[in-house]
């Protein structure tokens, strides 16, 4: 009898181990699938930007370029806005050398500059406006506080498409059409409520007594914000920076409405225009796409290490 019990026990253990194994395998496989799903398009984008137009259309596709070429990037950095696009250049032998380069290729780098300027300004202004606003809403009791928070949030429920026309009228009235100012202004209107929302949430989570302690220790409200609240809110600030940067970087609809020339066109507009050129070079477009993801990635890498949790541990009794 003892032996059968023992055997049962071993059996149970084996079953348990097996179920653990299957669970781990399932999780592992799912993770792989998810990773492929996320990474495959990016991988293809990067890989194809180093391929010629001829190689890019080969079947099956070459995930690793057989004849890697930098021609697409040379075309981008060599292109000038004044470059003539003639029948001769378009029918050249090597597609990557400029034969199929879109006529607006020269706009790419200036547009990238525009995008960078707009995104940076939007991030900075967001912080300048959003941080004090959020502190006030979270830690100062004043008449109409709740109404203010509510109103700010409600503005985010309105879809951008509904705002396009009113925005357009305002921007035209201000004489800002086809200028970077129009984009900075409207992107702020779209992102500041989100910034305030995130930061109010965070500041409200910080104990009131921390604010009181700082003020009794000799801080004005502003100093309390800068010296105590901001250092503690780095993770939230990073989230805000990333969100506002990416929102500005990717925004298409408003940019399409308010910009008309290279003076103010941003990257998404110029990139989209490539596809509507009468001949399309996929390898060139993909190279442009690769350039477009570099700044967001750089920003993310710079700020990622500040996204640390547990920064506020120990403020209160704990």
């Amino acid at each position: 009898m003892a032996t059968t019990e023992r055997a049962n026990l071993i059996d149970d253990r084996r079953r348990l181990a097996l179920s653990h194994l299957t669970r781990n395998v399932v999780i592992f496989v799912s993770a792989i699938v998810l990773m492929l799903y996320v990474l495959a398009p990016v991988t293809w984008l990067v890989s194809s930007s180093f391929q010629t137009e001829a190689e890019i259309v080969s079947v099956p596709p070459h995930w690793i370029p057989e004849n890697p070429t930098l021609m697409n990037f040379e075309a981008i950095f060599g292109a000038t806005a004044e470059e003539e696009v003639t029948y001769e250049t378009r029918s050249g032998q090597d597609p990557a050398s400029g034969g199929y380069i879109p006529s607006t290729a020269g706009n790419l780098l200036p547009a990238m500059g525009n995008s960078l300027i707009v995104a940076t300004l939007v991030v900075i202004l967001n912080l300048l406006v959003g941080v004090p606003a959020a502190y006030a809403l979270a830690k100062i009791r004043f008449l109409g506080r709740d109404a203010s928070v509510y109103f700010i949030l409600v503005t985010r429920v309105i879809p951008d498409i509904a705002l396009v026309v009113p925005f357009f009228l305002v921007i035209r009235k201000l004489g800002l059409l086809d200028s970077l100012g129009s984009l900075v202004l409207t992107y702020l209107a779209v992102t500041v409520p989100f910034t305030v929302f995130i930061l109010v949430q965070f500041f409200e989570g910080l104990p009131d007594e921390l604010d009181k302690a700082a003020r009794v220790d000799g801080c004005s409200r502003f100093q309390s914000l800068v010296r105590v609240f901001l250092p503690l809110s780095l993770p939230s600030l990073v989230a805000v920076i990333l969100f506002t940067f990416l929102t500005s970087w990717n925004e298409f609809l408003l940019a399409l409405m308010f910009t008309q020339t290279e003076a103010s066109q941003t990257l998404p507009i110029v990139l989209a225009a490539f596809t509507s050129d009468f001949t399309i070079s996929f390898s060139f477009i993909n190279a442009a796409g690769v350039l477009a993801i570099v700044p967001p990635v750089v920003v993310a890498v710079i700020f990622e290490r500040y996204i640390v949790s547990g920064l506020t541990a120990g403020a209160v009794k704990g």
């Binding site: 220790d217 120990g314 009794k317």
Partner: protein
């Protein structure tokens, strides 16, 4: 170096809640004042008004003779210790303690000197490089004290600073806070809902309820001569017992308390204060410890009843006592052996009785 005066101070919160009503309080320089009362009675609100963390709705708050109603916290020379300690999580212990000095532009070497001195006194000098998250509750508490100490403020405010500590630490910290007051020679305003803390620490206690001051006095005043039933009930463990009844008095010099069969001959000192109040409805108060089990006391002081419950509390025991259907609690010596249901006779110390008007709850004695 601060005398703090409240003159008809009112506090109404923005939601209309009237948290402090007509507060008049004159805190002397170097005095240790304890604000005592149940949770929600307005103690913290009062303290925050001294610190400048809450606006004053009406009345005047003076530091010495100057009205400070509108001075922001950083312009008042006060330091504060919070219940949650409120240490800055991103700063080292050293920087936590020195922050107030830094904000007040004290020279660096002076900060260094004062922080080390305070840390030495509090025995946390080995912790100066740590973050608050790496400290125990008791250590955080000391850092919070140190942060206030180094400021050498005109007034030292503490909002339930010990309530997050365990019982043993709480008692030893009481002694340290008392010593701190002696050493610092400044005004202390201390908030607590713990009567024992208040009785140990205070020069004077301010008992509050529902935003209204009930009584201001020395611990002895408050405990021995409570002005009303609220104060009498709030202090004492177990709480004071009440028996409702009437005064029978023949002339101005003798009086008797009666409820049904129960009667006490009140001592002359009490009778004199009652005057001719024959038939007056009163509430008699007997503190739990003011009974004698030997029952050999003066005639007219004995109560008889049944033992309802026995709660040993180490040094003593609490006796639940059924007096003609009313439950009373007394504190008696632990060597007294009773069983549940025993009939016992206790003799009441008549000189220590309390008498209150039955309707208003105000004392009739002082």
């Amino acid at each position: 170096m601060a005398r703090i005066r409240f003159e008809h101070v009112e506090k109404k919160y923005s939601n209309g809640f009237h948290a402090v009503k007509d507060l008049n309080l004159d805190i002397q320089d170097k005095e240790f004042i304890v604000l005592l009362g149940p949770s929600g009675c307005g103690k913290s609100t009062t303290l925050n008004m001294i610190a400048g963390l809450e606006d004053i709705s009406d009345g005047a708050l003076r530091f010495d003779d100057e009205i400070v109603n509108f001075a922001p916290p950083h312009r008042r020379d006060v330091a504060m210790v919070f219940q949650s300690y409120a240490l800055y999580p991103h700063k080292s212990v050293f920087d936590n303690i020195g922050f107030g000095l830094k904000m007040r532009k004290v020279p660096r070497d002076e900060i260094e000197r004062r922080v080390r001195e305070a840390a030495g006194k509090l025995e946390i000098d080995h912790l100066l490089d740590r973050r608050p998250s790496q400290l125990s509750g008791g250590q955080r508490q000391r850092v919070a004290l140190g942060r206030a100490m180094v400021r050498e403020p005109a007034a030292f405010l503490m909002d339930e600073p010990l309530s997050n500590l365990d019982a043993a630490l709480r008692i030893s910290m009481r002694a340290e806070i008392k010593e701190l007051h002696r050493a610092m020679q400044t005004t202390f305003v201390y908030v607590t809902h713990d009567q024992a803390e208040a009785l140990t620490l205070a020069d004077r206690i301010v008992v509050m309820n529902d935003g209204v001051v009930q009584q201001i006095g020395t611990p002895d005043d408050i405990y021995e001569r409570p002005k009303n039933t609220f104060v009498a009930s709030f202090l004492g463990n177990p709480p004071i017992n009440y028996i409702d009844g009437q005064i029978e008095s023949t002339d101005g010099s003798t009086a008797r308390f009666r409820r049904g069969d129960l009667a006490f001959d009140l001592p002359a000192s009490i009778a004199a204060k009652l005057g001719s109040s024959h038939g007056r409805e009163v509430r008699l108060g007997i503190r739990a410890e003011d009974v004698d089990e030997t029952a050999a006391g003066a005639a007219g002081s004995v109560i008889r009843g049944k033992v309802n419950s026995i709660l040993p509390v180490g040094s003593d025991q609490f006796l639940g006592f059924d007096l003609a259907g009313q439950e009373l609690f007394f504190r008696v010596g632990k060597d007294l052996a009773h069983n549940l249901g025993d009939d016992v006779a206790l003799s009441v110390d008549l000189n220590r009785l309390h008498l209150f008007d039955k309707d208003s709850g105000e004392t009739l004695l002082w």
